[in-house]
């Protein structure tokens, strides 16, 4: 790793305690400039708390936050980030434009042209005098993204930005994120919709019980998400010794009472034949590629997929 490299986000031993219990525990998060960093974790894992600490909404119990190489307390740093945390905070009786003007004034922006430009870019320019309390969930989220974009920030911290969006809205936000990323903006996004996150993210961080269990780039994820052969049989107990004998050094994993996964297998037909010859019924079989969701679930279960190949250590790897 290049030590001189500046990160858009860098936390050192970031910790937040609630009633003595660590919601975020010595988190060492590193997000490179220009990355789209997908921040993944189960409900209550500490994602939102982490993002809130980065946005200055929650005070850390200990640890350090550096944004673009500067301490988070630096007033100029706050200007370089745009946040959408949990839900878009909107005044319900104001229109989209008025809400935008409110934030523009809060930032000291005098030019209201940028407000109209961003509203147009997020597809909200035709909402007219409609108060935001009458907006759909998707419209509110889009306005939340629009508010985050105000002031042309270099880093966008988005917590569940596609919550409540219809498929078209999800696609629009995805395209918006990708086009802004092309312009050089860095994104730190948390989302439960892993399929959507995997379409845009260049890097991932997985948090479990407040601990960062993995930081990985897309390329590394693809390497780690090795192909596996999945076979469904009527009797796992009888099948397993036969499979072990047949595959030699490959790893197996019993998924349920009928399903076995075999990693590192080159060819499956001979194994199927072997099982059938031993009067074991094979219902289904085939090669699969692990996706982000499966990788995430495996990491949540404590598995270390591909770690032996990459030499990773929990929470220490920079991506």
């Amino acid at each position: 790793m290049n030590n001189k490299e500046t990160f858009a986000v860098e936390t050192v031993a970031l910790t937040k305690l609630y009633k003595g219990k660590a919601a975020v525990n010595h988190l060492n998060l590193k997000v490179r400039e220009g990355a789209i960093y997908g921040f993944i974790g189960r409900n209550g894992a500490g994602k939102s708390t982490t993002l809130k600490m980065l946005c200055g909404l929650v005070k850390p119990a200990e640890g350090e936050i550096r944004l673009f190489g500067k301490p988070v307390q630096d007033p100029f740093v706050a200007r370089r980030i745009g946040c959408l945390i949990e839900s878009a905070g909107l005044y319900p009786k104001m229109t989209a434009r008025q809400n935008m003007i409110m934030k523009a004034r809060c930032m000291g922006l005098s030019d209201e042209k940028s407000v109209d430009l961003i509203l147009e870019r997020t597809g909200l320019s035709d909402t007219g005098n409609k108060p935001t309390k009458l907006f759909s969930m998707g419209m509110k989220q889009r306005l939340g993204v629009a508010l985050a974009l105000l002031g042309n920030p270099d880093l966008l911290i988005l917590d569940e930005p596609i919550n409540g969006l219809d498929p078209e809205g999800v696609r629009e936000i995805r395209q918006l994120i990708l086009s802004l990323n092309e312009e050089g903006k860095t994104f730190l996004i948390s989302s439960h919709i892993l399929g959507e996150l995997s379409k845009i993210s260049t890097h991932y961080g997985i948090i479990k019980d407040g601990n960062l269990v993995d930081q990985i780039s897309r390329q590394e994820l693809e390497k780690s998400c090795t192909d596996y052969y999945q076979i469904e049989v009527d009797d796992v107990k009888r099948s397993l010794p036969l499979i072990m004998e047949h595959i030699g050094g490959s790893q197996t994993e019993v998924q349920d009472s009928h399903t076995i996964r075999i990693y590192g297998l080159a060819e499956g037909a001979a194994l199927n034949r072997l099982l059938v010859e031993n009067q074991i019924q094979v219902y289904a079989s085939g090669f699969h590629h692990m996706d982000l969701e499966e990788y995430f679930l495996a990491r949540m279960d404590g598995s270390h997929i591909g770690d032996s190949q990459n030499g990773k250590k929990e929470g220490e790897k920079n991506v």
Partner: protein, 266 residues
């Protein structure tokens, strides 16, 4: 902080409740003037006869001989605590909406020094109270003219002295409301407190209780009684007591509001 003020004033101008609360104050003023006109003038008495309320008005007849415009203004809005209660409710609704709407997240991610937010809210309340006081007093003057100069005009110096002290006092009360809103984040709690403290309900009960022990004079230094007992003109350094009490409370509540907000997660 200037940016936060600009933002608050933008919202204040577009808030419907600011106009509703002001309209309530104006309606209250009109009603009071109208009743005084009916009891104090022959034309008003004739109208009261027609309306069948003359007897009732005569029973509660009000002598306005010793009144002037400032005293009328005080009787109508200030001394009963109506003004403080209405201003307190408005401030509570205004501040709590930042929390309820979640817009505070947008603000706090930009302004990480929270004292700036707290102080900007106190200044906004001060600006609001200034305009409310000025406009309502101007409205009293207008009504006095419309009702045929019911009471004589108060001198400019006395008016300025009283309005300045009332402004400081009500701004301090607004700071208390801001503290309560920061602490509870509940508009219901804010409105309830504004009615209880602004309307003087708690202080009156407390005064009754403390009078049993001859300690009720202590309450003269509360914001409510400072406003009620405030002199209408400068008669010596003693008449500055109200300024002192208001200033101490303004600083105290602003500091406590800042500490309260700084210690909380958003």
């Amino acid at each position: 902080m200037f940016n936060l003020l600009r933002m608050d004033l933008y919202r204040l101008k577009r808030s419907r409740s600011i106009y509703i609360c002001f309209a309530i104050l104006l309606v209250m003023t009109v009603i009071c003037f109208w009743f005084v006109w009916m009891t104090a003038t022959p034309q008003g008495d004739a109208l009261a006869e027609k309306l069948g309320i003359a007897e009732v008005l005569r029973e509660d007849s009000l002598s306005v001989e010793n009144y002037d415009t400032l005293l009328m203004f005080r009787e109508i809005a200030m001394d009963g605590g109506a003004y403080s209660a209405i201003l307190g409710i408005l401030v509570a609704l205004f501040v709590c909406l930042d929390f309820h709407s979640g817009f505070l997240k947008n603000i706090m991610s930009l302004h990480r020094q929270r004292w700036k937010y707290a102080i900007s809210k106190v200044i906004t309340a001060g600006i609001l109270s200034f305009f409310y006081l000025m406009l309502q007093y101007a409205f009293c003057l207008l009504l006095n003219v419309l009702f045929g100069h019911l009471v004589p005009l108060t001198g400019f110096g006395d008016t300025l002295f009283y309005l300045a002290s009332a402004w400081l006092n009500t701004t301090a009360f607004s700071a208390l409301m801001i503290l309560i809103c920061f602490f509870t984040r509940s508009s219901a709690a804010g409105v309830f407190t504004a009615l209880l403290l602004g309307g003087g309900i708690v202080q009156t009960i407390l005064r009754g209780f403390l009078s049993l022990f001859h300690l009720d004079d202590w309450l003269n230094y509360t914001l409510y009684y400072s406003l009620v007992l405030a002199p209408s003109s400068y008669t010596g350094t003693g008449s500055l007591r109200m300024f002192g009490a208001a200033l101490v409370f303004l600083v105290l509540y602003s500091a406590l509001a800042t500490v309260s907000l700084s210690r909380q997660d958003i």
